[in-house]
Subunit: 295 residues, 2 copies
Amino acid sequence: MIDFKKAMTDTADAVDEVLDDLLQRMEGPENQLLEAMRYSALGGGKRVRPFLVVASADLFGVSRSRSLRAAAAIEMIHCYSLIHDDLPAMDDDKLRRGRPTVHIKFDEATAILAGDALLTKAFEVLASEATHSDARVRADLCLAYAKAAGDRGMVGGQMLDLVAQDHELDVPEITRLQRMKTGELISVSCEAGCILGKVSAETRTVLRGYAHDIGLAFQIADDLLDVEGTAEQVGKATGKDEAAGKATFVSLLGADRARKQANLLVEQAVNHLNIFDERAVLLQELARFIVNRRS
Amino acid sequence: MIDFKKAMTDTADAVDEVLDDLLQRMEGPENQLLEAMRYSALGGGKRVRPFLVVASADLFGVSRSRSLRAAAAIEMIHCYSLIHDDLPAMDDDKLRRGRPTVHIKFDEATAILAGDALLTKAFEVLASEATHSDARVRADLCLAYAKAAGDRGMVGGQMLDLVAQDHELDVPEITRLQRMKTGELISVSCEAGCILGKVSAETRTVLRGYAHDIGLAFQIADDLLDVEGTAEQVGKATGKDEAAGKATFVSLLGADRARKQANLLVEQAVNHLNIFDERAVLLQELARFIVNRRS
C-alpha cells in the first residue's frame, strides 16, 4: 500500500532541499533580501502545489531532478503571493504558518522586494536548462505559470477579492473569484507535470478536470477552517472572513452544505483519475487530504 | 541623415500600441487591475529601454513584430519597478512622469497588485509564440530578463539601496549598486536584441560593453538631474537624494567631475559600436541623448 503521508513528507523535504539550493545567500548587505526570501520559502507549509507537480510528473515518468525544479518554482510563486497578501495595505496579517509574517519579521519594504524577487526567481528557474533540455518545455512552463499567476489568474483574483469587499457576492461569483485566486495555481501545478511529460491534449484535459475539482474543494475546506479552526491549529489568524462580513462558500451555503459540496468535488476529482494505473493513487489521496486537513 | 528624435518618438508610439494591445481591459470589477497597469505602462516616459531593444534588434535584421514585443516586456518590468518603488513603504513618491503615482491615483493594494501583474505579464509575453517561433529564443529571453530583474539584478539593487541608507557608500559601492539597480535592465534590453537576432558571443560582448557604459552614464545623468532639475521639468520630485543625505555620484564626485565622467562613458559607449555599419548610429545617438536629456 502506498504511504501517502510519507510521500508528502518526502516530497516536501526534497522541495525544501531544492529551494535551499536555489535561494543561495549573497555577499554584501543586500543579503537581507535573500534572508527574507528564504524565511518565506523555507518556512514550512504543506507544500500541496509542489506535491501536485511532482505527483503529476511521476505519472508520466518525468525525472525528479526536473519535476522538483518546477515544484520549487510553483512554491516560490505561492510564497510571493502570501508575502504580498499579508502586507498592511492588503490583508494586514501578522501570522503565517505559525510565525510572524515577512513584513513583521523584517520590514514592509523588504517584504515587497522579497515577493518581487521570488516571483522573478520562479521564471529564472523554469527557463533554465537544468529544468528541461527541450527549450519548448521551458518556454511552455514559463507561459503556463505566467498565465496562471497573472492578471487573468491569481493576481486578477486578488483584485476581485479586494473590490468584492464592497458588495455581496453570490455562489457563481465566489466560485469565479476562487477559481482565479487559488484554482489557477493549483491547476498549473498539475499542468506542469503534463508539460514536463509532453503528454497528449486528452491526458491534459483529464488532469485539468481533477485540478479544477480539488482547487474548489481546497477553497471550501479553507473557508471551513477559517470558521471552525483556531489560529494555533491553522497557523494563521482565523475568523477573519466572518469578522470582515466577507461572503464565503460557508457563509453562503452553511457549513453542512459546504462540507458536502467539498466531499462531492473530491469524489469527482478521484474519479477523473481512474483511467490511470495505481500511480495515480497519491493524487487521489491528496484530494481526500485536502478536505480532511486540520491546518 | 538619421533623425534620432523621430526614431525615438516612432518607437515609443509603436511600443505604446503593442502595450495597449497586450493590456486588454477585462469584464468585471477586477478590471481595476488592468486600469492601474495601463495607467502606469501607457503613461508616457522616454521609453529608453524599449528603444534599446528595438534598435539592437534592428542591427541584426529582426522583424519589428518580434522586437516590439520584447520591448513591451522590458517596459512592463520597468513600470512594475517604478510602481513598487513609489510605494509609501519604499520611496514614498507622489509624482511620476508628471502625474500622480499609481498608489495615489488608485490605492496601495491596487498598486502592489498592478506591479505584480505587470512583472508576470512580461514573462507571459516573452514566452508566447508570437514573440519568436524558436522556443530556445523564448526561453533564453525569459531567463535573461529574470536574471536582470531579480535578486542578483534590479531587485537586489533596490534592496542594497534601502540598506545603504544607514551607511556611507564610496564610489565602487555606488557603482555596484547602480549596476544592479538600473544597469542590468539596460543591459538586458540590448541583450534581447542579440537573443532575437541569434548573434555570436563576440557580438553580444560588444553590445554588453556599450550597455554597461550607457547604464552608468544614465545613472550619473539622473543624479545630476536630481540636483539641478526642477520637479516640473523632470516629472518627479527632485532634490530627494540630497535631502535624504544619500550618497550619489554627484555628492561623491561633485557635479563637474560627475558630468565629465558621464561624457567619458558616452564616448566609450559610442566607440564600442564603431565596428557596426551606419545602422548603429541610432544607438550612438541614444548614448549622447542619455547624458544631455533634461528630464
